[in-house]
């Protein structure tokens, strides 16, 4: 059965606005625009890891 093929620029297919999806962290990736949901668990997050100690070169 043939289906009507809708155009992607229809409002229905636009990414959600930032306000519609924000929770604790996250936001829109602007380019290319898309809906983005942040992962809020940071198990091993370290903004300044010590790359000189990698287990092999102790």
């Amino acid at each position: 059965m043939k289906k009507r093929m809708e155009r992607l620029d229809d409002k229905l297919f636009q990414p959600l606005a930032e306000a519609e999806q924000s929770r604790i962290t996250g936001g829109l990736i602007k380019d290319p625009p898309q809906t983005y949901t942040a992962i809020t668990i940071f198990e091993t997050y370290d903004p300044a890891p010590d790359w000189t100690r990698d287990g092999d070169n102790e």
């Binding site: 289906k3 155009r7 229905l12 924000s22 962290t25 898309q34 983005y36 949901t37 668990i41 997050y45």
Partner: protein, 359 residues
């Protein structure tokens, strides 16, 4: 760039982590690696599923060349968003196995606390450890003292929990500095939300990566839970796979309410015993405890036609029809048949966004 027709023409294949989900009015294309999704027309869903493995020319021919322009637009869109690629042998790129398995008997837990609670935190944490629990949400409905939070976190210090989320009532001791210090001392803390605060603010992540957020909303009972909103969608492989056959809220969950009653979720009426008389193991051993774990979105009325169904954290406590365990969550205002939220005023407000705020 869409290849020209000719011999040995390549076919378009989605990346295995990009999975289309059909809804009644529109579909989503979930990128489980990036943690994002795109809305796509159901026509494109049909192309990606029923015409998978065909060349562009074959797809256009299948529609009698009535939609050549739209099909070209679709393929360009998929390429531009890096959702798929052209290849000669799509059989070399099999789909992901969405079987969900977990060695833990319990993966997540909720512990409710209020001013009258007398929980034995050490015992609860030990029992959760025995069950393999990885994630704990502690919800304090009252103005919390730092000492109480420390007592909970100390009980978890040498356990196997991987993440602890704190929801606590505002109190004079809960300054941003004190909470940042708490998070720094307890590496398992992954997020802190302070409710009943005089003003809403979200602090930038500290060095530990923990986000501390203050909200004005008063959260004084389990009834705060169960909202369905894009802000609560989880776009990642584990939830997506779990949602194929299990309930994404209740599966492998155990909860202790503020009075010590053990339930699937603190908002659910049924108790499987009080911690004073029953262990978490004992409650879990009850033959009905896991009964709700397997209610998946494909079985729930209306949700089964929703394009968000594998991203949505369901709710089985607050239902449209309380007599029907398979009715949609009452706190969901989304209509998948029109792809509209019921109304901005009824849309759940999140992160300091007042209800009905203009977008």
């Amino acid at each position: 760039m869409i290849p020209e027709a000719g011999g040995g023409e390549p076919v378009f294949a989605l990346f295995a982590c990009c999975i289309p989900v059909k809804g009644a009015r529109r579909s989503t294309l979930c990128d489980l690696q990036r943690g994002s999704f795109q809305f796509i027309p159901n026509g494109l869903y049909e192309i990606l599923t029923e015409h998978a493995g065909k060349t562009a020319a074959e797809i256009k021919a299948a529609y009698d060349h009535e939609y050549d322009e739209e099909i070209d637009e679709y393929l360009e869109f998929l390429l531009r968003h890096e959702l798929g690629f052209w290849c000669d042998d799509p059989a070399k790129f099999p789909p992901l196995d969405l079987t969900w398995e977990s060695p833990e008997r319990i993966t997540n837990a909720i512990l409710d606390v209020d001013a009258r609670s007398d929980h034995d935190y050490a015992r609860i944490l030990v029992e959760l450890d025995d069950l393999g629990c990885k994630a704990l949400e502690v919800r304090c409905f009252h103005a919390c003292a730092l000492a109480e939070l420390r007592a909970i976190l100390e009980a978890a210090r040498y356990g196997r929990l991987r993440s602890i989320d704190l929801l606590v009532g505002d109190g004079p001791e809960l300054t941003p500095e004190a909470l940042a210090d708490l998070a720094a001392r307890h590496g398992r803390v992954s997020g802190i939300v302070v409710h009943s605060a005089p003003e809403a603010r979200r602090l930038p992540p500290s060095r530990t990566g923990v986000v501390v957020e203050y909200r004005t909303e008063k959260i004084d009972s389990p009834s705060c839970c169960g909202k369905v909103h894009p802000g609560y969608f989880v776009v990642e492989l584990e939830t997506f796979a779990e949602g194929q056959r299990h309930n994404t809220c209740l599966n492998r969950k155990i909860s202790v309410d503020a009075r010590g009653e053990i339930r699937n979720c603190p908002s659910m009426a049924r108790s499987f015993g009080n911690l004073r008389e029953t262990s978490l193991h004992g409650a879990l051993a009850h033959r009905d405890f896991a009964a709700l774990w397997s209610i998946n979105k494909d079985q729930i009325e209306i949700c089964k036609d929703c394009e968000f169904r594998y991203l949505c954290i369901d709710c089985r406590a607050y239902l449209k029809d309380e007599r029907d365990l398979y009715s949609k969550p009452s706190k969901c205002g989304y209509d998948p048949y029109t792809a509209e939220w019921r109304s901005p005023a009824e849309r759940p407000a999140l992160a300091g966004i007042p209800k009905g705020a203009p977008e």
